[in-house]
Amino acid sequence: MAALERKVIPIGPFHPLQEEAEYFKLTVEGEKVVGLDIQLGYMHRGHEKICEGKTYDQIPFVVERICGICSTSHPFACVQAIEDAAGIEIPPRAAYIRTIVGELERIHSHLLWVGLAGHFLGYNTVWMWAWKYRESVLEISELITGNRNHYAMFKPGGVRRDIEGGMIPPLLQVLDDADKKILMLTKAVLDDPVLHKRLEGVGVLTPEMAVEYSVVGPTARASGLAIDVRKDDPHAAYDWIEWEEIVLHEGDVFAKAKVRLLECLESTKIIRQCVQKLKDLPEGEIDAHMERGPDGEGIGRYEAPRGEVFHYVKGDGSLYPSRYKIRAPSSMNIKSNEVAVLGGSVADAAITLAAVDPCYCCTERIAAFNTKGKLLYTWDDLVKLSQEKTARMGGGS
C-alpha cells in the first residue's frame, strides 16, 4: 500500500471547540496524528509590565484578570510573593478564609472542565449537569465575596472581607448538596461504558514523559507523580487540616477526569474543616497591614486547579515593584500535548488537547510579528537564532 499522504489540519484561532483563541496545526497521515504545532500569542496582554506600574495593593486586581477561571490562584500566589518579600505573617483567620475561597474555586473549575470534556465528546448531558451544579458554587462565592468570579478577596497581608456567621449555614448547605451531586456525577462518569471505551488508553502521558515535560497539577497526578504545592510547600491553612492528595497511575484522559472529580470531594472536605476552625476562632483581625513596599525579592506558589502557579516579585522599597514575573501551569501542560496526541486518531485529538485543562489566557507569551500580523519567527527559528548567537560568541557545538 502506498504511504498515506501527510496533510495539515489547521484548527483555530477561532474554533467552536474552545472559547479561547488558539491555533493548532495537526499533521495527519490518514486518521493518525503525526505532528502538532501550537501557536500561542492571541491572548497576550502584557500583565507583567502592567504590574510594574501598579502599587502593591492594586496588583492582586491585575493578576486576578489573568484568567477568569483561576481568578483566585493568581492573587493567592501574588500576595504570598509580596508577603514573602516584605516578611509579613498573615492572621490565622485570613489563612482560613483564603483556603476556603481557593477551594471553592477549585470545585467550580474542575466541574467546568468535566462539563467541557463531556461537550467535546458529544455528551452534552454531562456538560449541562456539571454546569448546573457549578452554578450553586458560584452563587455561594457571590455571597461570600461579592462576585461570581474575580473575587477581589485577597490583599497583601490578609483578606478584604470576613466570612461572617450568617454566611456559614448556606455555605455548608451548598457543600452538602455539592458532595451529593459530585458523587452522583463521579459515579455516572466512571460507570459509563461508553466513556470508558472513549477515554481509557487515550492520550496517555507516561510518568517519564510527565517528568520530561515538567507537567504539573492534575495532569501530573494522573500520571503517577505526587506533586501538589499544597502538600509540598504548605501555606495558608493547608497544613492545619486533614486532606489527601489524589494520585493515579494510568496517565490517560480517563485518569485525568477521575483525579479532578475526586479532588472536588477533597475540596469540600477541606472547606468544611476550615469553616469549623473559623467558627472556633474568636472574631478578630483579617489583615496584617503592610506599611511600606518591600525591599527585596519574594516568591509565591499556589496549587491552582491546573497546577502550580509561581509568582516572583522584586521591590526596591517604593510603592511599585521593579520586576514582576508570573509562571502559569498551562505553559508546561500544553507542551505535553505534543507527545500525548501523537499516534492517536484525529477524533481523539480534541479531548486529548483539552485533557490538560489548558488555559491559554494564563500562558500567553509574546511572539514577534511584523506590522501586517505575520509571524516573524517560529519557535524553531528562535532556537536557531539563539544557537547562532552562541556560535558567534565562540561557544556551543
Binding site: 472559547e19 497576550h44 477568569g68 481568578s71 468570579n149
Partner: protein, 145 residues
C-alpha cells in the same frame, strides 16, 4: 410580507458567534453559562453558531490585542450583514485595566461598529441576557432588513 416574515423569524432565532479577542476567559465562560440550565437562553431561540458565516449577532469579549485584531476584522467581514455587534465586558468596551498594555490595539468600537455595550467585569449573566434582548430590538428596527 416577506420582509415582515424575515424580521419575525430573525428576532426569534438569533444565531450568535462568539469571538474571544484576548479576554481573561471569564466573560467567555459566562457566555457559555448562558446556555446551561440555569439561564438557558436557548428558550429565546438563541444558538451558538460554529461559523461566523451563519451568525447574526457577534459577541466580542476581551481587550483586542494587536495579534488578534486582524482575525477579529476577518470574522466581522465574514458575517452576513446586517448583523449586530455586542461588546461584552469592560475590556472590549474600553480596555479596562489593560489600557496601559503595550499590546492593546484600542477599544473595539475603534475597529468595528458596535451596537450594544454590555458592561461589567464580567457582566452578570442577567446583564448579558438584557444586552442580547437590546440587540434583538435593534435588529428589528433596522430598515434594510
Amino acid at each position: 410580507m416577506l420582509k415582515k416574515l424575515k424580521k419575525a423569524a430573525l428576532a426569534r432565532s438569533l444565531w450568535i458567534y462568539h469571538v474571544a479577542a484576548s479576554p481573561c476567559n471569564n466573560c467567555d465562560i459566562e457566555i457559555l453559562d448562558l446556555l446551561t440550565p440555569r439561564f438557558d437562553v436557548e428558550r429565546f431561540g438563541l444558538l451558538l453558531a460554529a461559523s461566523p458565516r451563519h451568525a447574526d449577532l457577534l459577541l466580542v469579549t476581551g481587550m483586542v490585542n494587536k495579534k488578534v485584531l486582524d482575525r477579529v476584522l476577518r470574522v466581522y467581514a465574514q458575517i452576513p450583514k446586517p448583523c449586530v455587534v455586542a461588546a461584552v465586558g469592560s475590556c472590549a468596551i474600553s480596555g479596562d485595566l489593560f489600557v496601559d498594555s503595550y499590546n492593546f490595539a484600542g477599544p473595539l468600537d475603534k475597529h468595528i461598529p458596535v451596537d450594544v455595550y454590555i458592561g461589567g467585569c464580567p457582566p452578570k449573566p442577567e446583564a448579558m441576557i438584557l444586552g442580547v434582548m437590546r440587540a434583538i430590538e435593534k435588529l428589528k428596527k433596522l430598515k434594510d432588513l
